[in-house]
């Protein structure tokens, strides 16, 4: 039997039972559409998250004090972690390939202007932080390059803080009180939005050393290194590790490259995409059961036809092939419809709700189509085996 005849015969019997075939196709189509749509949303979210994450600059290596290791003796006894200091930062800046460093201290304090006060995140950073984190200044300028050890009391406000505190008034040049100390507003930042739940607009930026004294800290919370594009993050990280180990006498700090962070984030997001796709696969399974049901009914209805086919020269294998072919054609049509509906739905969703990012990975779509055909195959095997196993004489007699 030729393949095209097999497909033609399958289509013939499917068209003969239009309504029933349509509903079965619909079942598979809904399954495939949901797989495609959900993975599109998942993939869109993944890409969105990654771009959100990298928008604060790539080529970053961050160093935090302390080291996550398990040692035999309680940490309290040999607590010899040396804090990260401004001197460490200055030393790190001299590593070849490092363009800039930012010493970061973070805390919460009220920011007051006239009668209004707002509790917000205080970020103690260096003058280059705006450039490194890729946050643009809307008005005025960012913290000026000063004597690092005794910088002047300037503050740059995040956009939310600026509007909340000053409303229509221009904050530039005004004096605000942060934790009781007076700071002059020198700039207002562009709105940057949230990242992983942290609102960068609801924050103010002051010089590192001032933040340290404000929060009564004698060490830094983080040092970020910005290195030249094209350099291996590993090389920079290794140099920083050697330098700091020499300065501290031991490796009592943790270095995280952005690549590592992206790897972790990427794998987490991949799992989200997969599990969301898995949800769609459940509806696909239901569609498969639909095919199984309809094929079982078809075999019962067409038992005399099976007998006839056997009499005019069909072997068991051909009967098996005919019914499996029908199930696969049914599933493949459903898969194609589902693909169109799913991809179209994802596109429509992206067009109507621009804030919800969607992206249809075509490889997934191909997998979904193959999956549909495979489900048709599986669902078709059982009824087709039954049909092939029928006794031709009994089958001819059944009416």
């Amino acid at each position: 039997m030729l393949l095209r005849d097999l497909i033609r015969l399958s289509l013939g019997s499917l068209v003969d039972q239009r309504m029933r075939s349509f509903l079965t196709v619909l079942g598979i189509a809904v399954g495939i559409a949901s797989v495609v749509l959900l993975t599109s949303i998942g993939e869109g979210v993944r890409r969105f998250m990654l771009s959100e994450f990298t928008q604060f600059g790539t080529n970053l290596v961050s160093i935090n004090p302390g080291r996550t290791t398990t040692v035999g003796v309680s940490g309290a006894i040999i607590n010899n972690i040396r804090p990260l200091s401004i001197a460490d930062e200055e030393a790190l800046r001299r590593i070849a390939g490092v363009i800039d460093t930012i010493a970061v201290v973070q805390g919460n304090a009220p920011v007051e202007w006239e009668k209004r006060s707002r509790h917000t995140t205080i970020l103690g950073v260096g003058p280059t932080a705006a450039a490194v984190f890729k946050i643009d200044v809307a008005r005025g300028r960012f913290l000026p390059v000063d004597d690092q050890r005794a910088p002047r009391a300037y503050v740059a406000l995040g956009s939310t803080v600026a509007t909340e505190l000053f409303r229509e008034t221009s904050p530039l040049g005004k004096i605000v009180r942060i934790g009781g100390e007076r700071y002059r507003v020198i700039g207002i930042m562009e709105s940057k939005g949230q990242m992983l739940g942290f609102d960068l607009d609801d924050a103010v930026y002051i010089p590192t050393v001032r933040a340290m004294s404000l929060f009564n800290l004698d060490s830094l919370m983080e040092i970020d290194l910005l290195y030249q594009a094209g350099l291996e993050s590993r090389t920079v990280a290794d140099q920083a590790r050697r330098l700091l180990s020499a300065r501290h006498g031991a490796e009592d700090f943790t270095i995280t490259t952005q690549e590592e962070m992206l790897d972790v984030l990427g794998s987490v997001l991949n799992i989200i995409t997969l599990s969301v796709g898995g949800l769609g696969a459940i509806s696909l399974l239901v569609g498969g059961v639909g095919i199984l049901t309809i094929m079982t009914i078809a075999v019962t209805e067409r038992t005399p036809e099976v007998g006839l086919l056997r009499a005019i020269g069909a072997g068991r294998g051909q009967i098996l092939l005919l019914f499996i072919g029908e199930a696969v054609v049914l599933a493949a049509i459903g898969g194609l419809c589902g693909l169109v509906i799913g991809a179209g739905g994802a596109w429509l969703l992206g067009a109507l709700v621009p804030s919800l990012p969607t992206h249809t990975p075509w490889l997934f779509a191909l997998y979904a189509e193959l999956l549909a055909a495979a489900i048709g195959l599986l669902a078709g095997v059982l009824p087709a085996r039954h049909a092939a196993g029928l006794d031709p004489i009994e089958a001819l007699r059944a009416e």
Binding site: L309, R310, A311, I312, G313, G315
Partner: protein
């Protein structure tokens, strides 16, 4: 050439063994016209099914064209049915969703014959059977006589040498039944072995050789 020797066939009805064929010996030469007659349950249909390779005997040997086919597998038996044997049934057994032409084409599809050749052969056969204006009709749009003609056309499209007809006129009125018999006899006159199972004594009388069966045995063979 069909040679049956010592053919036995038993069925289980409930928990009782019923012998449908008891030690049947039969030799049929190519081109014969045979009518198998006998009361219901005498084993006529079972004999026909065994000759047509739809059923297997429990004992005995069956030589088709000198070849012992009792031991053949499903696939080889299917191939023999396809190429050497044609079936005509009392209830026509046309596929209801296919047109007359598609029904006639079906055995050639199963045989994997090239579509262009199929088309030619179907067209030629339809003309020969006088159903040219009915080729695109479905079975439910055809009269009983037309349906049986389509079924006969389907049975001979693969040019078998034996045609097995199980009560071919049993579901037809006198006139169309007569037409169908004429077609079958015409095919027989061109060298096709024709074996009919029938209750109709008139039809039986027309055959060159009449086999009467009783209780799974051949009672008379003239």
């Amino acid at each position: 050439m069909i040679t049956l020797a010592g053919i036995c066939r038993e069925f289980m009805v409930g928990d009782e063994r019923v012998a449908a064929l008891r030690d049947v010996d039969l030799t049929i030469a190519t081109g014969e016209y045979i009518a198998v007659m006998g009361p219901s349950g005498s084993g006529k249909s079972t004999l026909l099914n065994i000759i047509g390779l739809l059923d297997r005997p429990d004992a005995g040997t069956y030589l088709l064209d000198g070849e012992d086919i009792t031991g053949l597998g499903d696939r080889q038996q299917a191939a023999l049915r396809r190429h050497k044997i044609g079936f005509v049934f009392q209830f026509f057994h046309l596929v209801p969703r296919m047109t007359a032409a598609e029904n006639i084409e079906l055995p050639m599809i199963l045989a994997g014959i090239d579509p262009s050749e199929r088309k030619q052969r179907v067209a030629a056969t339809i003309d020969a059977f006088g159903i040219g204006n009915r080729a695109r009709h479905r079975p439910d749009q055809l009269s009983g006589g037309q349906r049986q003609r389509v079924a006969i056309a389907r049975a001979v499209i693969m040019q078998p040498h034996t045609l097995l007809a199980d009560e071919p006129t049993g579901n037809l009125d006198r006139v169309s039944g007569g037409e169908v018999v004429e077609i079958l006899e015409d095919l027989n006159s061109r060298g096709l072995t024709l074996i009919t199972v029938t209750h109709d004594p008139d039809l039986g009388k027309r055959a060159g050789r009449r086999i009467r069966m009783v209780d799974g045995r051949i009672e008379s063979d003239r």
